[in-house]
Symmetry: C2
Subunit: 439 residues, 2 copies
């Protein structure tokens, strides 16, 4: 067992017990990247020397009895729409190839203050937005398939054992789709729980920082460092009430995707959880339309500066969101924002007697080819609702590619969701506690 195969929680434990140094862990990650990233292409830049220097510093501090936090010495990846001071911040845009920001994003600052080490910047759809160019990243389990997007590099890097943890963002389904397609864990916290400062703006009322790990414990470690209240122990499955919701978009889910959800339900019931079938009320059937309207409508304000500064050099697809044709009208944006606010209350009332809601992780296995990163439709509805979501691997489909489920919680109760997710993952993820080595 080599260090790069450890989960973040395992590696943190090994470092705390001095069985592993930060330099050994960072070096193992760099070696794995060296061997694999020609195929996977998860990274836009790797700060090899900076990360090793930081690892030496963290090891020296630990030897001197100073431990900054539970992730002291832990390397992590950062989607290249989230700034790391002194590292390239290109947004995967040809307009920003030489951009180097001076500030850490809020999440990066908290991780560094806790002793973690930013290893480099991961590939992303241009500006993490719909309409720009795609990431070059490939699915680690089949380089002929997409890893999902827009947090493509972060999801693939964690799945391919390049780094135990990585940050992404979600405006529609950009955290959860790579989690499902690559077979890793992800948390999209409640909107507003984590500072979005230093992440490229797309849609102000949707954009959310999230992160990938290889277990729910990994997700919880980051949550704690970022100031989210986490529970001390997992919830026992007996006594847990879970609603299954196939969403208004169930007809877009493949037979594989439904089968994975069915398996999860049977496993939960067998382990003593109470599972009830309960779809969203019909009044929430327009959530995905609302996401499209808010994303493109708020994207108008976000991308107008780029359109005016760069003109024809700016991505056509993004320029159209800012200046048309087809720009979202102000009355349409207002109506969608109000619909979203109302839907939050309807959702909470509708599911007030359950602990969490379980739904498919994506429409199915990752698509062939890299042209499309797949559909966000199974995740966008939760983004509009501002609720926390944990992505959990749930076996493989007929093509041998990962499938996932999403466990959805309630606003500002992220810790309770993580506690439930830890119990759920133990019976739903057939790889739980085992190492899966792609390639």
């Amino acid at each position: 067992m080599t260090a790069e195969t450890l989960t973040a929680a395992e590696a943190a434990g090994a470092m705390a017990e001095r069985r592993l140094s930060s330099v050994e862990l960072v070096a193992a990650c760099l070696d794995r990247i060296e061997r694999r990233d020609g195929t996977v292409r998860a990274w836009l830049s790797v700060d090899r020397e900076g990360a090793l220097a930081a690892a030496r510093q963290m090891d020296a501090e630990r030897a001197a009895g100073r431990v900054r936090g539970p992730l002291h010495g832990m390397p992590f990846g950062v989607k290249d729409v989230i700034d790391v001071a002194g590292q390239p911040g290109t947004h995967n845009s040809p307009l920003h190839l030489s951009r180097v920001p001076v500030d850490d994003a809020g999440c990066v600052a908290l991780m560094r203050a806790g002793g973690a080490i930013p290893l480099g910047k991961t590939d992303t759809a241009e500006f993490a937005a719909a309409g720009g160019r795609n990431a070059a990243t490939r699915n680690p389990h089949d380089p002929g398939r997409t890893p999902g997007g827009s947090s493509a590099g972060s999801g693939a890097a964690v799945a391919d054992l390049h780094v135990p943890l990585a940050f992404g963002t979600q405006t529609g389904g950009s955290m959860m789709r790579p989690a499902a397609y690559c077979g890793v864990y992800a948390l999209k916290p409640t909107w507003g729980e984590v500072s979005r400062e230093g992440a490229k703006l797309y849609a102000a009322s949707l954009d959310t920082i999230g992160w990938y790990g290889r277990s729910v414990a990994d997700l919880s470690l980051v949550a704690g460092v970022l100031g989210i209240e986490t529970a001390a122990a997992p919830r026992p499955l007996a006594g847990l009430r879970i609603a299954v919701c196939r969403t208004p978009y169930a007809d877009k889910v493949s037979a594989d995707g439904h089968a994975a959800l069915d398996r999860a339900v049977r496993a939960l019931e067998a382990a003593g959880a109470t599972v009830v079938a309960r779809e969203l009320p019909a009044s929430l059937n327009a959530l995905n339309d609302a996401k499209e309207t808010i994303m493109r409508g708020e994207g108008r304000a976000a991308f107008l500066p780029h359109a005016r500064v760069y003109g024809d050099r700016f991505s056509d697809g993004l320029r159209r969101q800012a200046e048309g044709p087809g720009v979202i009208t102000r009355p349409a944006l207002k109506a969608a924002l109000d619909y979203g606010a109302h839907a939050r209350l309807v959702f909470e009332s509708h599911y007030r007697d359950v602990d969490a809601v379980l739904c498919p992780g994506a429409t199915g296995e990752a698509d062939r080819g890299l042209e499309s990163s797949g559909s966000s439709i199974l995740s966008s509805l939760w983004t509009v609702l501002h609720v926390p979501v944990v992505g959990i691997p749930a076996g493989e489909g007929s093509g041998g590619l990962p499938l996932g489920v999403q466990l959805v919680g309630f606003r500002f109760a992220d810790g309770a969701l993580l506690a439930a997710a830890e119990a759920v993952a133990a019976v739903v993820d057939p790889w739980a506690g085992r190492v899966r080595v792609p390639g």
Copy 2:
């Protein structure tokens, strides 16, 4: 008449007709700053050489027949929580004295693309937040009094004829109070209309970029450059229906403040407008409480990175918002966010038959001393409602200091509000069309 006394609209007209060059205008502003800023202390940094170089460039372009937009060659000030690439970006924090960002904020990028010239950075409450240190800026009309805050330097700079236009931000009442106290015009647009990228994060669902000018026409020129739909002509007062609302906080308004509102109402009626008295429904009496909860609750996420990175070196008041004691709980934040969303619908329904709502600009004249920048209570409620607000000067109080009124519109109808405000200002502001030279 010297160039620094012109409104932005007048200066733009003079430059378009080649009666004034950008170099002449910028030089006149720099001279005024040189003469007055020792007293007023509006600026944290002035980019003298950069602004003159840009002015020469804009004059050369105009001479060659290239005009980038209606503000081609126009200098403007920028509150020092909004980034200008290559200029200091200190947030008025001792932690960031040497910070120089690499990106223009969205609003600055749009202004530069339109040919306008960032003259320098204006003083602000630390991080534009409640709890940090205050700006050193003084009221141009009485240096023994506060100019209001947190956009202190921007409001004072425009009032004292240092620059025709300046950007600020509002999370509670940070745009509108300096407008009222200093006797200048201000627009806080609809939340989400203008990109907030590049402005320091405080409360994600409240923070709004706004700007100061010396006429409604000035505000509209900037609105147009920032992509807000503006009306071609002012609304005639005859036919305009305006509701007067003294707000649930009317008891905090001085006799002077009420008298200014009374004068405004009489002037509007005399000019043919229909004015109706209509207070907010009682269910909206908690709007200011909601603002406090949202501001400090969202401020927890915004300032946690600073608290963890800088520890004891970070402002005590801001650190308490992030880490307590007295930190806002998550259930309280959620309840306040939901209350705000509901209040937006109640407001629109309650005033659906009027064109705008008129209320006091602040609690009264600027307070003596610089320790406090005054109360935001007359503005915070509108910030929670996300509605656009125009600050309009409305004469003087018993102390000879300016008083203001606020004209409040409806979400995503900023252009309609500006059209109404232009007509209202013509009869409400006794200085309309005349130059007021402080000092």
